[in-house]
Amino acid sequence: MSATAPADPQVVYDDAITKKFTVATIFWAIAAMSIGAWLAFELAYWPANLGVPELTFGRLRPVHTNGVIFAFTGNFVFAGIYYSLQRLLKVRMWSDFLSNFHFWGWQGLLTAAVITLPLGMTQGKEYAETIWPIDIAIAVFFLAFAGNFAMTIVNRKVKHLYVAIWFYISFVITIPVLHVVNNLVIPANLWRSYPVYSGMTDALVQWWYGHNAVGFLLTTPILGLMYYFLPRAANRPVYSYRLSIVHFWALVFLYIWAGPHHLLYSALPDWAQTVGMVFSIMLLAPSWGGMLNGLLTLRGAWDKVRTDPILKFMAVAVSFYGMSTFEGPMMSIRAVSALSHYTNWVVGHVHSGALGWVGMMGFGVLYWLVPRLWNRDLWSWGLADAHFWMSTIGVVLYTVSMWGAGLTEGLMWRAIDADGQLQYPVFVDIVAQMAPFYWTRLIGGLIYVTGVYIMAFNVAMTVFSMPEKSETPQPAPAK
């Protein structure tokens, strides 16, 4: 390993690959979140299912969930890693071919998922719905990325791995493990298959996978990106190196145990439920370690947080991370789960993480990356600021309405009258109470996704109409 070699001033980073993933991130954000808004509309107004099998809630929801996880978040994480890894290691990605193989393969398999899922080709396990040929593609293209990632680390010109890279490593190692184990199936034909696990074993494997997709795709790589981009945007050093060590190892060790909190009071063996609950509660500590390290990195930069949309996005994102990772452990307590499970509260919780934490961190990073990648000033910082406020208002409306909805239905389901009978025995009577919450959620979601449209417009105007900055060598102005 050439760890002691001096950094080569001639190293040229591959930013073309970051640009591609950046554009893909924005494209899939629009697609996945617009579909989410349509699904919210379907719940508020059932005729919006349109009588078309491919557009019914049951078939379209997996397009939304997989789209947000693997398309929006996936592309965002890849863009951020390709950009930061090269700079942290002072070396170009090991193989341009693998980078592009990864990019086009990933977009291809996402496209295949968008086509097959509405056709009812599904494995019927949440966030693992894609059929087995697509699952093989996910493994192949992710491993291409992983190999490129590993070889870039091997070839690095900087000896010590910065904290962001620790989190990337946990992502690169864990995702293939989760994906392969949960998707072990025997095909019946090209689009139908049956898992090798059955019943409660399948349920546990699924939620071990499902919760750690949250842990190692929606959390650890985003934390890594926070450790790279937030100190740069704030121009402040990371608050505590020791805290980053403690919370990293605690987080990756504890997260993997938390899956059974999705199966409390189910037919899962009691001991597994209890272990899942206990580890979920412990997870609060390293989660807040990350939140505090992020927020305290902003010490001395709070004046900039008031004015810089990038820092606003990041500060609110980290705050939502703290909020979600407090709410999650609380919901993992059996007595709370008894009320919250199966209700809209869970949907609100997921979205405070996905829209609040992942989404807003993603937008902050995008507004930081785009001017640098294309070497242009952003077309409009005012619109970026408007996007920030729309995101914040949208996610608050979403989360609060789902709290209201979840508490309402949870309490109505369990209400027992003086005679010991159900107070609301007719289920649809409770469904009817959801309407105002569903409409409010739709409005919140629409505000949020409109912000994304504005971002896309702003980025397009930046790329196509802003002049390139003059510092970089330019070809003769012949065109």
Partner: protein, 230 residues
């Protein structure tokens, strides 16, 4: 100040760092999942009979339509849930469920005890127009189930694959898929006909009805105390 041990030992050694990360993320999964292969699915004596070919076809439709995105199949051991749905769910009842369909949301009601709750014709009417049987429902109509057909060759493929993963279908059962489908479908068609519904044995709605009527009728009789409430 001396170099921190973490920086000295780990941050310069990417191989060791990756190895330790792998260990850290493996322990929890191994501890929780491995025991499930011996005890997780309940007592063997309580295992119900495997799904029939028609129920397999119906279950495939249930999965295809994403019913689990709105309906759970897990009655929890609470007074309100046993009053509303019936006896709580037992592990053994899920023995042949591939994939499991416990669900994570109750946009509509739990379905684990739906079997036998309504006549076959109710399911036909409900899929055709959910509001005809459940006024105020927000479920979309699934009227294509009334006209789309199941394919015996398709169901046979499913049985073969399910046998590979461990459902004990015999050669005869696999070979006689079509006969078995017809034999179970015809009484459902006949019962529906008695209420004026015209359906054919290979309509998807018949398979779906067979699956839904089977759901939750396999309460274990041996090791678990029976009874609708605690």
């Amino acid at each position: 100040m001396a170099e921190h041990w973490h920086r000295r030992l780990l941050e310069g050694n990417s191989g060791l760092f990756a190895a330790l990360t792998t260990v850290a993320i493996s322990i929890g999964g191994l501890v929780e999942i491995v025991p499930m292969f011996t005890v997780g699915n309940g007592h063997e004596a309580d295992m119900p009979a495997p799904y029939t070919p028609l129920e397999v076809a119906g279950r495939d439709i249930y999965v295809r339509e994403g019913c689990y995105t709105c309906h759970s199949q897990m009655v929890r051991p609470f007074r309100d849930e046993t009053l509303r749905y019936g006896e709580w769910s037992h592990a053994a009842e899920y023995s042949w469920d591939r994939p499991f369909q416990l669900g994570s949301r109750r946009i509509g009601p739990d379905l684990h005890r739906i079997g036998g709750k309504y006549p076959d014709s109710w399911h036909y009417e409900h899929m055709k127009d959910p509001r005809s049987t459940s006024p105020g429902s927000i479920m979309p109509p699934y009227d294509w189930l009334l006209t789309d057909k199941i394919s015996p060759a398709d169901v046979r493929q499913s049985l073969v694959a399910l046998r590979v993963v461990g459902t004990p279908y015999t050669d005869e059962e696999v070979d006689q898929t079509e006969a078995s489908l017809k034999a179970q479908a015809q009484p459902i068609v006949d019962r529906m006909a008695s209420t004026g519904i015209v359906a054919e044995w290979d309509d998807e709605i018949i398979a779906m009805t067979a699956y839904l009527q089977r759901l939750g009728t396999d309460r274990p009789k041996g090791n678990v105390a029976a009874g609708g409430e605690e």
